[in-house]
Symmetry: C2
Amino acid sequence: MTELPGIVGVEKKFFTFEGLTLENGSFFGPVTLAYETLGTLNPDKSNAILVCHALTGDSHVAGYYGEYEKKPGWWDIMVGPGKAIDTNRYYVICSNILGGCMGSTGPSSVDPATGEPYGLTFPVVTIMDMVSAQHRLVRELGIDRLHSVIGGSLGGMQVLSWCYQYPFMVRSAVVLASTMRHSALAIAFNEVARQAIVSDPKWSKGHYYGKSTPSTGLSVARMIGHITYLSDESMRQKFGRKLQGKDDFSFDFETDFQVESYLRHQGAKFVDRFDANSLLYITKAADYFDLTRYNDYEDVLVKLREASVKFLVVSYTSDWLYPTYQSRDIVKVLKRNSLDVSFCEIEADCGHDAFLLPSDRLAGMICSFLAGVHTVSGKGRP
Amino acid sequence: MTELPGIVGVEKKFFTFEGLTLENGSFFGPVTLAYETLGTLNPDKSNAILVCHALTGDSHVAGYYGEYEKKPGWWDIMVGPGKAIDTNRYYVICSNILGGCMGSTGPSSVDPATGEPYGLTFPVVTIMDMVSAQHRLVRELGIDRLHSVIGGSLGGMQVLSWCYQYPFMVRSAVVLASTMRHSALAIAFNEVARQAIVSDPKWSKGHYYGKSTPSTGLSVARMIGHITYLSDESMRQKFGRKLQGKDDFSFDFETDFQVESYLRHQGAKFVDRFDANSLLYITKAADYFDLTRYNDYEDVLVKLREASVKFLVVSYTSDWLYPTYQSRDIVKVLKRNSLDVSFCEIEADCGHDAFLLPSDRLAGMICSFLAGVHTVSGKGRP
């Protein structure tokens, strides 16, 4: 990998609007979205790319807020000057999802009606709702049509929802390590993570703000998640049966193995940066995700064809959370409807998280895919 | 499957001995093992088969205690008159493991020195320790050599430990859906389950006996376990995205999907029958299991060849907890040492738990394998 520097001086911005009608039928507002942009929007506003983050990501997709920041944004390997998603060429937008806890309105936000954090009075939002909110932001930025919408995992679900809800606002879509229909296995893991949180007495039915947080439950939930992001092979390579700083077993319940220490560390670190209720809401949104449950889903495919939307779908051999067959299902539906879709299954040992790791293969694929998306192709109907 | 009736009138018996020196170097005792036997020991005591149970199993391998019992023992499909492990022919023994909570000495047992339950003063025992205790029982029953030792999962680890510790006391060994070396992935799942338990404030560092038990933590731990016993495919077939007794999403955090309801039910049911500390100890024993860490492990293979011990190793295509390659590792080691080993990977969608489910294939294989084990083959050196 060529290591290119990231942008320094990225700003977190906020966009507030009156609210939106949710999939559950109710109106919710006001809504604030935290977002960041990189690169420059061209005069005809045709070079915008929306990057959608995964479960616990945020708007800080790439670059550094300032020199003081030790680590760049979560996808700096992919987004920046001269990188696959080249900020010299594209105007990249990334916003924290509705329901999140990184600046966008979520269960930890203060309800203006009560002056108290929403907690469980926050509505159960869906991926479609998250995308409806992003849509407001994109419109606010004056953009009629996105050059591309790109995301992995939960971000990939948002990409598919963009195509479903706003087919004429998307020129191309990149769906990485994702699914059009959350599986029973994936629901199962999410449900156990949620149970770990709600079983923590400090969760207090979601009213823990200003008091002590359900950190042990949240930590266990994160540990469960982390296992699903790795693979048998990557864990064998990374940890195997290596012991943590000792020569023999402890014969007690302290940490013996490095993999235990790693998971505990991941759990503990997560507690400092993430809100437990947000994890409940976002995992629920993922579980609800099923494009095939919408009656007009086939009609939308016709619109996508009309709009000549191009697709790139990527899966990873060792991803057992959203295995390749689920990506193939997306590809099948698109191809059956004569849509222009490229598909690649990347051979990788590192499991679901592969799309977040440096990969010349993925970078090359995204770069050339984006270059092949013509701004004039297909009709936009903004 | 031909459904054959099970034996009615099985008795749970107890064997107490002064104790044993554990792998951690300390002496622990007294030890009681709960055990059950089916069939009749023949005059030359050559027809005994030891069945080793898995993580949360017990001595009640087959048959019914009485007419009142609604469900037979956990492997009644395999063990009984005319069944694959035919109790008309074989004398079947099954004992609850050391560290368990189904009648054998474990952390919930009363320490005679204090009059209080052991809790965390119970020593961290290993699979080898469990087998050392079983060995005492087998000796007590007057048996010098077992026709076979059979077990799946954690039971398979016990089978391998029997071969390692007492190669001349075993005529044959059947290892189902198991491993010779607990993987990082399997350790990871166990560690998260343990963290779920110890994070429950009611766990009180293991001193919860006579008070309220860490049922929420234990329930989450069981839910995690249950996911690993199934497979993506089996969950899709069994649950898919079916909703639990409703037509649409609840848009709250109640149960929406059948898979959630199933897992919560499994968690809740488990809490009634299992001790949280026992789960800590038994998962730890599994994590410690690694035959290759013993320096004399290659020497034992020579002894097993000398004793003409026959092996049957079975794996399942959809078992991702102990995948086929781990069974192949066992087979490779045995074959490299010219041992008589049959191996079969069974095509099955149902995941790790497959060995507990009705299967003519497995039944046929075990039945003919046992028939092919000659009581005169190889030298016993009891």
